[in-house]
């Protein structure tokens, strides 16, 4: 499989990364290079093999349903690019 310029623009938009036309051209070549290289995995017979999700077997734990933290609004907002009235502020999202 390989990607063309339109596919790269589509991927970039899915990834929410703005790209220029020059970047699209460069990335098309780079992505195809890398994707061509990983194609070799097609040689491996994986019939009947379960995909590995957790490398070290580990039981997922449940914790007690209690509040362990809180009352730290100012800490939470401390690094916000724009915070107003105790909230994160973003550009208007309604017409």
């Amino acid at each position: 499989m390989s990607v063309d310029a339109a596919a790269v623009r589509k991927i970039a938009s899915l990834a929410r990364i703005a790209v220029t036309e020059a970047e699209v051209d460069a990335m098309t070549g780079e992505l195809n290079n890398i994707l061509g290289w990983v194609e070799q995995l097609g040689e491996v017979d994986t019939d009947g093999i379960e995909p590995l999700a957790a490398v070290i077997p580990n039981q997922l734990r449940l914790r007690d349903d209690v509040v362990t933290d809180g009352g730290i609004r100012d800490d939470v907002l401390a690094n916000a690019p724009q915070a107003e009235h105790g909230f994160y502020a973003v550009p208007k999202v309604i017409e």
Binding site: A12, I17, V44, A54, P91
Partner: protein, 493 residues
């Protein structure tokens, strides 16, 4: 007392306890060394006041008879660990100016053990890179120079290149690192120091800026095996805040160090003899095998048949997880925001991420987005997870006939800055020996084994069974004792 900066973690800890020097003297000596080493660009932020405060506390503890395991020892902290009140950037413009209101579990443990912090160490941006050339804060320079390669500036390896450069240059006795595909072991090998990545889940990932969550694992980098054991003991342990943290006691790795390998079977995987491997690397490997045999080990050849598929597997799984993890950088809650005139929310996300991420980070996010997208998920991501299962099974089978594996750490000595940066694939191939054990979550360590024709360090890697950090440390110690590695970088900075 400039001689203090020649001491490692154990020597500082012990000398401080014996009263040979005060913790403040140590901190002042290292703070001065850090300040004088700016040409290396190893630190993004220096924190001399943190080191001094910990030192003064240590001196008080000694007077009170209440010293802790790392009292008196100042450390460098990779700038991937969130540190309360101190800027944490992951070497990206995206997080420039970000000051965490919380402490990562690993640094919290180190500081509760008495350690101080010399500063935040430079790295590849979001830990993505093998040469430290992707940092938004400039390349880290290795303190080493090749005797045959002109005076070219060399890479300290990556992503923990600030950590490796700082330890090798004697401006920190030890440093934290993180390893996703070899980011502790390869830089340790390139700079002639030791570095251990423990079993996945030994060290908490809480508060570590995420790259690829099923692979990321903190570890220790220091001048020798004992120092690594001491640091790793302080860093490890169960953390309820990390769902992948293992609920196990931390063994007394330092106390149980032994370089007597009698009865140990050391496996040599035949598939690690890759095409085009320099004769020097092959010779180093043979030396390592001789060292292990001399320490009493039995050498057995083993097979890891899926080795050649590890890198392409890694370069699907790691970018896939990265594309998901890095979705959090949206310009809303923290970090950079780029809001073009008249932009809506979607435009703001796209502009912010275009501005804040470097080229390699974007490349990996795009690869990851592609392999996870509808129509390609099974062909790439599920396929890679299946091959990953086969790679893990290779190791399980090998460990039926051996106890640890011995391999070279990297396929070459440190290369020059700029030498591979134009070709992502050539760069990725540098991790050929470290990635398979990362995919399997195994403990693995690099120790210096010798030097190449240019006098540059070469590393040997020990890979162990899950949770057998002791076996890894002991085999590494046996090699360290026999390699007699005393070379060090001549000071030019």
């Amino acid at each position: 007392m400039s001689g203090l900066t020649d001491l490692g973690v154990a020597a500082i800890r012990d000398g401080f306890r014996e009263g040979d020097f005060s913790a403040r003297e140590v901190a002042e000596a290292f703070n001065a060394a850090v300040a004088a080493a700016k040409p290396l660009n190893a630190f993004i932020v220096e924190t001399p006041e943190h080191a001094l405060a910990a030192a003064d506390a240590a001196d008080q503890e000694r007077a009170d008879g209440s010293v802790r395991p790392l009292s008196g020892v100042p450390l460098g902290i990779k700038d991937l660990f969130c540190t309360a009140g101190v800027q944490t950037t992951a070497a990206s413009h995206m997080l420039e100016g970000f000051v965490p209101p919380y402490e990562s579990t690993v640094t919290e443990r180190l500081f509760l053990s008495g350690a101080g912090m010399l500063g935040k160490l430079n790295l590849d941006q979001f830990a993505m890179g093998s040469s430290n050339e992707t940092s938004a804060f400039g390349d880290v320079l290795s303190p080493w120079r090749s005797k045959t390669g002109g005076n070219a500036a060399l890479t300290p390896g990556g992503s923990s290149g600030g950590s490796s450069a700082a330890v090798a240059a004697r401006i920190a006795p030890g440093a934290t690192g993180t390893d996703t595909g070899g980011s502790i072991r390869q830089p340790a090998a390139f700079t002639g120091i030791s570095g251990i990545k423990p079993t996945y889940g030994r060290c908490s990932r809480w508060g570590v800026v995420a790259f690829a969550s099923s692979l990321d694992q903190p570890g220790a980098m220091a001048r020798d095996v004992r120092d690594c054991a001491i640091m790793l003991e302080a860093m490890s342990g169960f953390d309820p805040k990390d769902a992948t943290s293992l609920k196990l006691d931390v063994p007394a790795w330092e106390n149980n160090l032994s370089s007597d390998l009698r009865g140990l079977r050391v496996g040599v995987p035949k598939e690690y003899r890759v095409d085009g491997m320099p004769a020097e690397i092959d010779a180093l490997w043979e030396r390592g095998i001789a060292f292990a045999r001399d320490a009493g080990a039995e050498i057995v050849e083993v097979s890891l048949p899926h080795t050649r598929y590890a890198l392409p597997t890694y370069y699907i799984i790691a970018p896939a997880e990265a594309s998901s993890n890095l979705a959090r950088y949206d310009g809303v809650r923290y970090g950079l925001r780029d809001l073009p005139e008249g932009a809506n929310l979607q435009d703001m996300y796209a502009a912010t991420r275009a501005d804040g991420f470097g080229a390699e980070v974007k490349r990996r996010i795009l690869i990851g987005t592609y392999v996870l997208s509808a129509g390609f998920y099974d062909a790439y991501y599920t396929k890679a997870q299946k091959v990953r299962a086969l790679i893990a099974r290779d190791f399980e089978r090998a460990f039926e006939t051996c106890d640890v594996l011995l391999t070279p750490t990297a396929p070459s000595a440190a290369f020059a800055l700029g030498e591979k940066s134009a070709d992502p694939l050539a760069m990725y191939l540098n991790d050929v020996f470290t990635v398979p054990s990362s995919l399997a979550g195994l403990p693995a360590m690099s120790v210096p084994g010798g030097v190449d024709a240019g006098g540059l360090p070469l590393g040997l890697q020990i890979i162990g069974r899950p949770l057998d950090e002791q076996g890894v440390l002991n085999a590494a110690l046996a090699i360290e004792e026999r390699a007699g590695f005393t070379a060090r970088a001549e000071k030019w900075w």
